[in-house]
């Protein structure tokens, strides 16, 4: 009787068959061999002599049989083929897995491959046009994402919807009007990042994740503001053509840096002041709470917008020219519109007045003016942080849309 075919290594499958994962043991043993290496496979599953060669055939491995009359449990010797190595010829890592050493310009061929994964060559060239690290990234993005994910709140339980309160009809109407305005603005704030998420190279996944959570934030804001508006009635307030026009200029901005500048740094920055004002002057616990919750989220949005523009401004001295031009362009586009919906302005005064005595109204008016001043000061501070001179920051802030956002 001739001896069994020689082998470099062996694997014993025991009673395990290919129908229950025996191929994993064979594969693991073959992985340690070079092409042409020989693996003796032994086992007791009666189907092994049929399944082992069938499996090997499909993967480009050759089998050699033991001599007739061999009484051992040797099923066959598998001679490793080259297909497994050939499949990974030319494979490359899609950059480093950790965000500390990002590629500055990830290639299109990395596409939707997970960052850091070993990519088989030959996948589709997926075009994500926002593929420049400096145009989208901020080192604070992973941290902000983690924070944002941890601070998601449930609209159902985070707001005291059932707390008893009763407002005079005109105060309730003022709240409804302000809520209507907030819903409208949050819709724009959701759509703007949504239009960029699909364009950002997945290599910068923390930015995509952060924007996705930001969109989820806006979705919750839309919900709670709508729900507060309808808490005591069935109709919302008014929406001015100028207000919608102003918001649409944000949505139409196709440059990521400029869109985040207009939306996050100028718009949402002003919005944080507005929400803070509403939190302080809210006439009921529900309004107070929804404004406070939204304000926490909006602050985070402003931090990210500022972080990545500060980073970009350091690298690109021409960025400020583009930001300046964007403010002028938007101002020009809106110069013929009425700015803030007059109903919204009036509603803010009513809320801040807290009563109808002329002294109350006067005080309310002062408070709204103080709000506008605070918004202006905030915008100027952020513009200075981006490298504008204080006098120019003041001029640019004054050009910002009167629609607040």
């Amino acid at each position: 009787m001739s001896a069994a075919p020689a082998a470099d290594v062996e694997v014993h499958l025991g009673d395990l068959g290919f129908g229950r994962g025996a191929h994993l043991l064979v594969q693991r043993a073959l992985a340690g061999l070079p092409p042409g290496g020989r693996l003796a496979v032994s086992g007791r599953d009666p189907a092994l002599p049929v399944h082992l060669p069938a499996w090997c055939r499909g993967r480009g491995h050759r089998v050699e049989w033991p001599a007739l009359g061999d009484r051992s449990e040797l099923v066959a010797v598998v001679v490793r083929g080259t297909a497994d190595d050939d499949r990974w010829f030319g494979a490359e890592r899609a950059g480093p897995a950790l965000p500390s050493a990002l590629s500055s310009r990830p290639p299109a061929r990395w596409g939707l491959g997970a960052r850091g994964a070993l990519l088989e060559a030959g996948g589709p060239e997926a075009r994500f046009d926002l593929d420049d690290r400096d145009l989208v990234w901020a080192d604070v993005a992973p941290h902000l994402y983690a924070q944002a994910a941890a601070r998601q709140w449930d609209p159902q339980t985070a707001v005291p919807w059932a707390d008893p309160f009763a407002l005079p009809a005109d105060v309730e109407a003022a709240v409804v009007q302000v809520m209507t305005y907030l819903v409208e603005n949050e819709q724009a704030a959701l759509v703007v990042p949504a239009r960029f998420v699909g364009r950002i190279h997945p290599h910068f996944r923390e930015v995509v994740q952060l924007l996705a959570v930001q969109m989820a934030d806006e979705a919750r804001h839309m919900e709670v503001f709508s729900r507060r508006a309808l808490l005591r009635g069935t109709e919302l307030g008014t929406s001015s053509a100028g207000g919608r026009h102003s918001l649409f200029t944000l949505v139409a901005e196709s440059d990521f840096a400029l869109a985040s500048f207009l939306l996050s740094v100028l718009g949402e920055g002003s919005f944080v002041d507005l929400l803070s004002f509403l939190h302080q002057n809210a006439p009921d616990p529900v309004t107070r709470r929804v404004c406070w919750l939204a304000m926490q989220d909006e602050r985070r949005h402003v931090v990210f917008g500022m972080a990545h523009l500060e980073h970009q401004a350091q690298l690109d001295p021409l960025l400020r020219d583009r930001l300046r031009a964007a403010i002028h362009r938007r101002h020009d586009a809106l110069v013929d519109t009425a700015g803030l919906n007059a109903d919204v302005f009036d509603a803010l005064v009513v809320l801040a007045a807290g009563g109808w005595h002329p002294d109350d109204v006067s005080a309310g008016f002062d408070r709204v003016q103080a709000l506008q001043h605070a918004m202006d000061q905030g915008r100027q501070r952020r513009l200075v942080r981006l490298g504008f001179r204080p006098d120019e920051a003041a001029a640019l802030s004054a050009l910002h849309t009167r629609n607040f956002m």
Binding site: G17, F18, A47, A54
Partner: protein
Amino acid sequence: MSTPTVLMGAVAYDPKVVTIWEGFRAWLRGRGLDFDFVLYSHYERQVEDLVAGRIDAAWNSPLAWLRAERLAAANGTAVRALTMRDTDQDLTSIVVVRADSPVRQVADLAGMLVAVGAVDSPQATLIPLGHLAAAGVEVDVRRFDVGVGLHGDHIGGERDAARALVAGEVDAACMIDANHLAFVQEGTLPPEGTRIIAQTARYDHCNMTVRQPESAGVRLFGTLLLGMSYADPQVRPLLDLEGLTAWKDGRTTGYDLLARAVDATGFFSPDGRVTATDYRP
């Protein structure tokens, strides 16, 4: 000198056939061969067109190879197996019973009901039934005629036979070795619910059949196919779809089992006519 050309026939047993050969066409054209293909709905017309000179090459099933060989010989010409897939060599078919079946060996199947694939399936009908006949075992046959004319390329008949076995409608079922593994892994067959009671000798499957003498285009076609590398990311997905890791030189030493089954059942006449009475591709 004009560009060498090849017109190849392929049977459209699955929509992926279009993807595969359109991809190969682009790859072959990029290497100096003016290659094109036509699709057939069954193998018989493809074989007749090859022998009649209407196409230069036919991507043939083993049964189609046998018929092409016979038709060509009757015509006073000859065909050759230019290439084949690495996965076309040394296949086996098996006969399977339920694990709790009283059948222990082939002889126990005498008089029992055996499920097979389509009438023209080499691996799930002709070869395994030939194996039983050679063992002198007479059985009743329940055939699952799915994709008749596709020579068993369509897996449906084999799968239906396996399902009939599990359902207890038949005593045994015939299939190719790799499909037994596939049916177990996909759950059509319970992992330890079947027992293999017979395995045929090894045989070969498809080949790229060409007429002799070969044109310059056909020679280049063979050279290019053999040069396709699994390491090439352009063709690897196509090789995966077609189920091979490398093209091999064609060989015709692995068709004896099928030839004997064809003769025993009178499927084709010695001169290549279709003589199976219940075969309507």
